[in-house]
Symmetry: C2
Subunit: 141 residues, 2 copies
C-alpha cells in the first residue's frame, strides 16, 4: 500500500528539487541535517535533532529538477517535481511498501501521512516565504 | 477510533483560540469563510472556496482560550489550547467517531490526518509569521 501527498508550490521545480538534495537547505524545512548531497548510489544519514531521530536513506535515482527515488525502512519513496509553468511546481511524494497485513498498518500509514503533509507544508513555507521555523512543531508525546 | 494531532505554536492560547472562532481570521489558515463567530449551540457554515467545499458544523461547547467541541459528519472534534507558559501553546485536535468496521476506514483516517496536520501547520505559519497563503496548497487530483 502507498501514501501519496501532493503540494502546489509557487516556485520553479529547480528550487524545490534543490531543497531536498542540498544539505545546506534541508534543515530549513525537514531534517536538521543531511550528511551529503543526494546522488544516486549514496547512503545519506538524516538527523532530526529536535526529535532525537536519525535514519539512513539509500538514494536509488536522481533526475535533476524532476525526480528522486530513495529507500528507507524497507519502503520506497518517490519525489516528483512537476513543472506546471509560471514558476509553479507540484511536488508529489509517494511512499510505497506498507504491508496490508501488518496489524499496525493503520497507525503506520497515518503517522507516515502526518510526516509527509508536514514536510511539504514546511517546504512551501520555506520556498515561498523564506520561513525556516515551521519545522519541529509537531508534538508526539 | 480517533485521530489526534498536536502542534506547538509560539503564541498565547488566546491568539490560537481566536483564530478558530473569529470569522475574520479563519480564512488566513483554514476555510475561506465561517458564517458566524463560534459559540456553543450555533450551527456554523464553513466554506473552502478553492476546493468548492462546504460543511456545517454544530458547536457544542466553547471555553474561551481553552477548549472547543464541535460535531461534523457524525464525528466529534475537540480542540484543546494548552497554555505552556512563555507565550507558547500546544494546540491539540482530536477527531473521534471513525467506525473501525468501515471498509474505507484507512483512507478516511489518512485523509482526516492530512487535513488536520495541514490546518495546524498553516495555523502556525499564520500566527507566528503572519502568513495567510500556506492554505489551499494540497492537491487532491
Amino acid at each position: 500500500m502507498n501514501n501519496l501527498t501532493k503540494m502546489s508550490i509557487l516556485k520553479p521545480a529547480h528550487e524545490a528539487f534543490e531543497a531536498f538534495v542540498d544539505p545546506g537547505k534541508i534543515g530549513s524545512f525537514w531534517f536538521s541535517s543531511s550528511s551529503d548531497r543526494w546522488e544516486a548510489g549514496k547512503t545519506i544519514t538524516l538527523r532530526y535533532d529536535e526529535y532525537q531521530a536519525q535514519v539512513d536513506i539509500v538514494v536509488k535515482e536522481v533526475v535533476a529538477d524532476q525526480r528522486i527515488l530513495f529507500e528507507w525502512g524497507g519502503n520506497k519513496v518517490t519525489i516528483l517535481f512537476r513543472d506546471m509553468g509560471n514558476s509553479r511546481t507540484i511536488v508529489e511524494i509517494n511512499e510505497e511498501g506498507f504491508d496490508e497485513h501488518d496489524p499496525e498498518l493503520l497507525q503506520k500509514m497515518i503517522g507516515n501521512k502526518e510526516g509527509w503533509v508536514y514536510v511539504l507544508t514546511c517546504l512551501k513555507g520555506y520556498l515561498e516565504f523564506g520561513i525556516n521555523r515551521l519545522r519541529a512543531g509537531i508534538v508526539f508525546d
